[in-house]
Assembly symmetry: C2
Homo-oligomer: 124 residues x 2
DNA sequence: CAGAATCCACCTGGATACTG
DNA sequence: CAGTATCCAGGTGGATTCTG
């Protein structure tokens, strides 16, 4: 194994990074966690504010995050039912890295968009 | 619009964050960028070291990243052909946020795995 | 070696209807 | 309100084959 290969190896399947990225790498997880950043929220609130997510996907995503210990689900036996989701400490600790990504997105959005335009113009 | 709604709104579709996340949120982009972090690499090297990626997906991912201006493609007219991919400044600037995510992954992997085990045991 | 092209199985995820 | 259950279209992406 070359030195180059050793440097690249952190991205082999099965390593922690890879497994976490596979989990949060779906379309919705990051958005749901982000939406819960400010504080607890109800199912319907999340459904409204993570635009484009379906009820099915929200349920699945919340379930997965609960399973990962990143949020807690609390149901209040009222009528009608109220269910609140809240990030755990672990879930909240994910906010900083995601915020970094968000900051990068905002900082580079214009630049990326411009690059795309140039690229598309070239090979047309 | 309530204050809660205003806080949640950054995640509406079409906003910079959302659009970037949609782009890098696929299974491979993050891994390919990460693999290019240490320096330029050839197509075949990436194919070997981003485990599980197919030739088709690697091609697609590299093309998209090139379009975004996050990496450059340089072909050397040798026999056999040699093609090297290298992150641009913009691409490299993405490494820090991704590194933060990677650090988080490593730090929380055990904890997440444990939470999953508990969760699965409970409702079995 | 670095792709392009084709085929197609699988799975994601939306729509809909129903329930406690 | 907060889900569950079912159906199914569309797209993702792997496998394979072929080329400069």
């Amino acid at each position: 194994m070359s030195i180059e290969e050793m440097v690249l190896d952190p991205y082999q399947a099965g390593c922690p990074t890879r497994r976490i990225l596979d989990r949060i790498g779906d379309r919705w997880t990051v958005l749901v966690v982000g939406a819960l950043g400010p504080g607890p929220a109800r199912f319907s609130a999340l459904l409204r504010h993570v635009e484009g997510i379906s009820q099915k996907m929200l349920t699945q995503t919340l379930r997965a995050l609960e399973r990962d210990g990143l949020l807690t689900r609390r149901a209040y036996p009222e009528v009608p039912v109220r269910v609140e989701y809240q990030l755990t400490d672990a879930g909240r600790s994910l906010l900083a890295p995601l915020k970094a990504l968000e900051t990068w997105s905002i900082d580079h959005f214009t630049q990326v968009h411009h690059a795309q335009t140039m690229f598309d113009r070239r090979d047309s």
